[in-house]
């Protein structure tokens, strides 16, 4: 397995070290001369100097026989271009891209640069999970299918508190799929009564989160 990594920052270097330790063949590309000199001491021949958005640099690194190209530079536009060329020009089927600025996620999506990893968004998700102030927690996102599952606690006095599932006025495109009680979870029927303190799992179309969560938390969007 041969992996080409573009970008010798902390992420790229540690990734290279881990993969080398696992027995992979790795080439790391770093464009800053001073940084490259530092990396050469550690990674020796596994690091090359150059701008990974230049075709000859990618070709010299052996992109044509790479099984995987990982673009983890500090510039989102560079990561997009590297992945586009790797996939379409050099026919590398597997790519992984790093998103530095979460606002750029929409551009990665638009141009089909997937999978991508956004550290900021991942940390934000963890915070949502740890801090219940957000009202709901994203459990699962099926971006391709435009569906997601959220978990939300029923607050006392909220519109859903004391209601039967069939009487909860959920918007079209959302559905209660589980009720989590102290003695375990269950798949509700139309007759199941919801009580404050319980948690529900709701499957919904993206965009409905706040509206749906409000029905269980009692806060208006």
């Amino acid at each position: 397995m041969y992996v080409v990594i573009a970008g010798g920052g902390k992420v790229g270097v540690n990734l290279a070290k881990e993969l080398l330790a696992k027995g992979f063949e790795v080439t790391l590309i770093e464009q800053r001369r001073d940084r490259y000199t530092v990396l050469e001491d550690v990674l020796e021949h596994a690091v090359q100097y150059g701008d990974a958005t230049e075709m000859w640099v990618l070709e010299r690194a052996g992109v044509l026989r790479a099984d995987l190209v990982v673009a983890v530079t500090g510039d989102d536009e560079d990561n997009i271009i590297i992945c586009q060329m790797a996939r379409e020009k050099y026919m590398c089927e597997r790519i992984v891209a790093r998103v530095n600025n979460p606002n750029n996620v929409e551009h990665f999506e638009l141009l089909g640069i997937r999978p991508y990893v956004s550290a900021t968004n991942m940390i934000l998700r963890l915070i949502e999970h740890e801090v219940p102030n957000f009202g709901f927690v994203h459990l699962l996102e099926l971006a391709d299918d435009k569906l997601e599952i959220i978990e939300v606690e029923i607050a006392s006095g909220s519109p859903a508190d004391g209601q039967r599932v069939s009487d909860v006025a959920l918007p079209e495109g959302s559905l209660i799929i589980s009720v989590l009680r102290e003695d375990g979870g269950l798949v509700p029927t139309a007759e199941t009564v919801l009580t404050a303190g319980e948690e529900v799992l709701v499957v919904l179309s993206p965009g409905l989160e706040t509206q749906v969560a409000g029905i269980f938390t009692g806060t208006q969007s």
């Binding site: 510039d75 536009e77 271009i81 929409e106 638009l110």
Partner: protein, 145 residues
Amino acid sequence: MFVLVTGAGRVGAAVARQALEGGHTVSVLDKDALSHERLDQGMETTWEESGGRFTVGAALETSALIAAGIEQADVFVAATGGDNTNLVVAQIAEKRFGVSRVITRVLDPARAEWYGQRGGIETICGTRGAIDMVSSSIVTSKAGD
């Protein structure tokens, strides 16, 4: 026609001024507010007084592109200082906003050629032009010896 130019550098600013003089509606987007000065150069009145639009914002910010009028643009010119920024924002203009004519400045001849052939966006490579001109000058001077 409505022409949107991102990047008011030497190329972008000159292209914007010429388009405005040619009677087009022209909007310029640049992340540096001071780049506006380049638009005023050589004009009798300021850029806005001449009818030009100017928005401060980064090319990859969708809200900035919309504020600069990308939804109305017939022609989109990507002329920031970065090849990869230009290539990405040009594809956004073409794919997301459906701008019919997208022209991208790319300094690297290899990327300009490949993305030009790939379709959707048009690439202009000044470096390629310079290489060809210098090369042919050398040939001509040899012939003159």
